[in-house]
Symmetry: C2
Subunit: 235 residues, 2 copies
DNA sequence: AAGATATTCAATCAAGCGTTTGATTGAGTC
DNA sequence: GACTCAATCAAACGCTTGATTGAATATCTT
């Protein structure tokens, strides 16, 4: 990064190490989890003094929140923009594929903080502590609610219960994909690569859209009835 | 736990604290992750001396492996047994619902180590470190491979690529469900409860079976073609 | 009963942790 | 050129960590 000429030179000095610490923290947190990395390791990676993290962010938790906040709003905003685009289409009902992609793409492609931030998010979602849950709720509950509403509009026949469970599947898949390397990468001998956002999105979006579109299947079936199901593709 | 009369009384003493330490470790690891808990906290929870964990398991990592190993083989074994049951059905092709349930149920129901071990597994899968990945590979790669084969047999028209990706979705959903509390529990105002194994299985098994059954959807579609898809339920 | 073995215990170790401190730097202001 | 103030630095703080020790105690074997 070259210094911006319009920026006061004084601001630049502190801001630079601030960003370097955020970058290092994002990288190391995403690789080893928030409890698996010390502030010393982070500041060393950033080439800063060991007290710099506390100076700029108050505490380790403050640093974690700062890493999260840096790109989270950008993702939530882009999600909402893309969702608006879905609704702006001609006069037809919005497309499931488009909605699903609008939800997944901003967080999985590299625009907001690169793949490093995607992995960081996956790790934080996976850690699932009180703090990370609170962070997610604060930054994403609004946009997530909008997507649930949009999906319910597009699928009026689907029960709220099933809608939420299918959304749960989408979330779990997203988290598991972000926190690569996943197990299929090994099990498929490298054919499937969840760390490649393009492949992941192109493959997952149609599958998950179709998942939402599937008719509700009654859970309790006798073995005899089940035999007939294999040939049924839908409804 | 009352002492078993058939058991030598001498074995019981050490074995008892051993089990209490395993229980405490499973609980605390599942709640705070492997790096979020100290051996002192674990031995205190177990009502044992702080040196007991190192005495019985050598190291913290040894304890983690022991917690994992205690029930992992039981799950893998039950999975394979249930998979055999699928193949033993009359002369028809095996049922997807049955295969999916055979994969999910042993790990999600409480038989093997209770819900505590399920959450522990979810947390370990989520942590996704070199050690936990190695543990999973060691204990589950075989049975997982068998399920991939069985699914491929049941779905001969599905490409290996798509099969693995859908399996990835199932794995991600399982992990995300095990590592509750999930986000839909809040977003659905408590209607969806991933921590209830019965509800989770009854809801997820049909959805995921249908997911596997869905026809392959081409990823690249123009907006115009996409409009027609919403009404298509399948093939 | 006596000796061998397995287990528990309090105490201790070096290392690392997050955080705080007081001094120092260097650019901007008057 | 004196003053201000955000930023950096080396050093240390008190505390927790995983691990080890050697003595004490319980249990099993003979």
């Amino acid at each position: 990064m070259t210094a911006l000429p319009l920026e006061k030179a004084g601001e630049a000095r502190g801001e630079l190490t601030r960003q370097r610490i955020l970058d290092a923290a994002q990288k190391l947190f995403s690789e080893h989890g928030s409890n698996g990395v010390s502030l010393r390791a982070i500041t060393a990676e950033a080439g800063a003094n060991s007290a710099a993290a506390n100076y700029h962010f108050g505490s380790k938790m403050g640093l974690l929140e700062a890493v999260f906040a840096r790109h989270a709003t950008g993702i939530a905003d882009e999600r909402e923009t893309l969702l608006q685009d879905c609704r702006a289409e001609p006069g037809r009902p919005p497309l499931l594929e488009q909605i699903v992609r609008a939800f997944l793409e901003p967080g999985m492609r590299g625009q907001h903080g690169g793949n490093g931030f995607a992995r960081f998010r996956g790790r934080m979602l996976a850690e699932n502590t009180e703090q990370t849950r609170e962070l997610y709720a604060r930054y994403f509950n609004d946009s997530t609610g909008q997507f649930l509403d949009a999906l319910q509009d597009a699928l009026p026949d689907l029960s709220s219960h099933d809608l939420h469970w299918r959304f749960h599947i989408m979330l779990g898949t997203m988290v598991y994909t972000l926190a690569n390397p996943g197990r299929i990468q090994i099990l498929s001998n490298g054919d499937c690569d969840p760390s490649d956002p393009g492949q992941a999105l192109d493959t997952l979006v149609p599958m998950i859209a179709q998942l939402f579109r599937n008719p509700t299947m009654s859970p309790a079936r006798t073995s005899e009835t089940l035999h007939d199901i294999n040939s049924i593709q839908a409804k």
